[in-house]
Amino acid sequence: MVISLVITVILILVASLGGLLFGASYILDQSLSDPDVLVHPSLSGNDIVVTIYEGRRLSELMQLSLEIEGYAPVVKDVPSGAKEIVYSSVAVQITGTRNVGVRGIFTDGSVKLLKVLVLKFT
């Protein structure tokens, strides 16, 4: 009786975790397949350059937040008409492979994930 209860609890936990992960990846896929603004980060020395291309909410884009796995996000203003935002020296001493994300902060206060990429720093 106790054993079956434990197994049931474990199954429920596994199912919940699976659902959570699936849901998270689904939301991620949804947001990235049709981003509000198309951006792309690339590494140049110790800098990361985020190039801004196009998007239906380009005129509403106020700030970009660069998030490197294991490091605090760095937020920078996006001047009107800016084609690229340079995050100087954010990659100092970063080596190996890390997930890098770029979020857009819009005039209405909404925050949207615009790009996720695995970058190989070395």
């Binding site: 590494l43 140049s44 020395g45 110790n46 190039t51 291309y53 100092v92 080596t95 990429l117 070395t122």
Partner: protein, 563 residues
């Protein structure tokens, strides 16, 4: 009505018969022209010194394998002397991949490298099995395997010789994998540049072990569909049967559409026990045209062109994007610019002017200096994109090998796109080439640093790099050492960089040479080009770099300035 039908059908049949006759006539119309004795003599004069040289290289390499085997007789595998002997052997044969010791059951028991699961000590198996009798029959010579896939996916052949225990009983084998591209590509460059000839090499069973076109390597000349023309088959038969000679045949020219006459002379090299190679010298090197192309796009125009394709790929499905990139009449063709696309495993996804390559894996494609082109592109794409250099055939200049600058961008984590321009002002586009002896010197110097780091320690190696008169130095080469964190331990070209972190150093193209060097070393090592400020003028010049890991956290490299 029926009468008219009969007339039409008869007419159609006549047209068909005449047309087929014309086709047959056209196929046979290209007759082989006689070749003068003077031309054959000139070709022989270029070939024979090379066969002598290759023979001597093989004899020397085999003698080193035999000498090392005798040093290892009766030495327990866990003795540090085993690792040192293998490292020294690998250093002294610069065109080798790795050296390994195997037990009687062909299981790997010691090696110079453990790059992956296939190289695991106690697990990895030799690619070829030889009996004790075969090894005895070889005597002092090494057994030379046929061309095949070796450990960790590299392709080449192996030298194998027996190792004995303290009592003189057969105890296993010592094997060294040989990189045939490294062995022959430098000689081929020499031939092209100095004589206007080119080289291919085949085993006497018809398997091609070297051709400047990597797609032909590993194919069998006798059985492969590509070579089933009557004149070529006659020639192949003769080449396989006769140890030397000359012949002519018809084969596709560089366009792979038209047939042209190719004249060859060949000679035989015996690289070791059980193998004969035919070294075939051909005269099918088209002269480089002097006609200049239209204005070459700038690097910024190149980048913008790729970015336009990137936006397209991000706003369309992958299928739609690849369809557009492969369309020769589409918007992604602009003069010499076109978009290529590859998977992150090196599979061709888009290449509009060579559609036959779609689906082909080009992971191991190398340029004449050993740069693994697709692997360098992928490494750059995984940094988020940027410029990458390599040499490749320029169709605008009769497919001469020229220096190319490409810009690549990842579309997602599974595939990337790019485009490139030929850099005419680069010395490598102007008949300058790095001799194979210089490339061997670079490899030797880097592997010597590995060996010295093991025997005398990394600080001793650092001191030798810093000392212009140390035994490590080779004229014209600039050794360096860097840590996994980007700290320059020593740099013969820029001694003042010692102790500084150079991860952030970029050239005018935004490339971080140190990050690329570390990435290449962590992948096992290899060749790359770099654009560096060269003292004392500190003007940017292209360099050729070879790098290998010393240990998990320290890497050794050396470079030569091009031009």
């Amino acid at each position: 009505m029926i009468r008219y039908l009969k007339i039409v059908i008869t007419g159609l049949l006549l047209v068909l018969i005449c047309t087929s006759g014309c086709i047959i006539f056209a196929e046979n119309s290209t007759e082989l022209k006689p070749v003068s004795a003077e031309q054959i003599n000139r070709m022989d004069a270029a070939l024979y010194p090379l066969t002598y040289l290759i023979t001597k290289d093989m004899e020397h390499a085999c003698s080193l394998v035999g000498k090392t085997a005798r040093e290892l007789d009766g030495v327990p595998t866990d003795d540090p002397a085993v690792e040192l002997a293998l490292m020294k052997l690998r250093r002294d044969i610069p065109f080798s991949f790795e050296a390994g010791l195997f037990d009687k059951n062909d299981t790997l028991i010691a090696s110079t490298e453990d790059r992956g699961k296939t190289m695991e000590i106690g697990v990895g198996k030799a690619t070829h099995h030889y009996t004790e009798e075969e090894l005895k029959a070889a005597g002092p010579a090494c057994i030379v395997s046929g061309y095949s896939t070796l450990f960790h996916g590299d392709k080449g052949f192996t030298f194998t010789t027996a190792v004995y225990d303290a009592q003189g009983n057969y105890n296993g084998t010592l094997r060294v994998g040989i990189d045939t591209w490294s062995l022959f590509s430098g000689i081929n460059q020499f031939l092209r540049n100095e004589y206007g000839y080119t080289l291919w090499v085949t085993q006497n069973d018809g398997v091609v072990i070297y051709d400047q076109d990597t797609t032909e390597i590993g194919r069998n000349l006798i059985t492969d569909e590509l070579y089933q023309t009557s004149s070529l088959q006659d020639t192949v038969q003769t080449i396989c049967e006769d140890q030397s000679g000359n012949a002519s045949y018809l084969f596709y020219d560089v366009t792979w559409v038209d047939l042209s006459q190719i004249n060859v002379v060949w000679d035989t090299v015996y690289p070791g026990y059980g193998m004969e190679w035919r070294i075939v010298l051909t005269d099918n090197v088209p002269a480089k045209t002097e006609t200049e192309t239209t204005t070459t796009p700038t690097t910024e125009e190149l980048k913008s062109f790729v970015e336009k394709a990137y936006v397209y790929a991000q706003t369309h499905t992958k299928e739609e994007a690849l369809h557009a990139f492969n369309d020769k009449n589409g918007e992604f063709i602009n003069g010499e610019l076109y978009i290529f696309a590859y998977s992150m495993e090196g599979d061709v996804l888009s290449i509009p002017y060579q559609p036959g390559l779609i689906g082909v894996n080009r992971w191991i494609r190398e340029d004449p200096n050993g740069i693994k082109i697709q692997q360098r592109m992928i490494a750059r794409a995984q940094q988020g994109g940027g410029y990458v250099n390599y040499m490749t055939a320029n169709p605008e200049h009769q497919y001469a090998q020229e220096f190319k600058l490409s810009y690549v961008m990842p579309v997602d984590d599974t595939w990337f796109i790019g485009a490139g321009i030929y850099v005419q002002e680069n010395p490598l586009s102007q008949n300058h080439y790095v001799t194979w002896t210089k490339r061997q010197d670079l490899t030797y110097q880097v592997r010597n640093m590995q060996y010295l780091a093991k025997t005398e320690g990394i600080p001793a190696v650092v001191a030798m790099i810093n000392d212009p008169s140390s035994d490590l130095q080779i004229e014209g080469l600039y050794p360096f050492s860097v840590t996994e964190n980007g700290i320059h331990l020593a740099d013969a070209l820029n001694p003042e960089l010692a102790g500084t972190n150079q991860l952030g150093m970029t050239n005018s193209l935004g490339m971080s040479i140190v990050r690329e060097v570390i990435s290449l070393a962590q992948a096992g090592g290899g060749w790359m080009y770099g654009l560096l400020e060269i003292p004392p003028a500190n003007e940017e010049q292209y360099v050729l770099i070879y790098v290998e890991p010393i240990d998990a956290a320290t890497y050794a490299g050396s470079l030569i300035i091009l031009g």
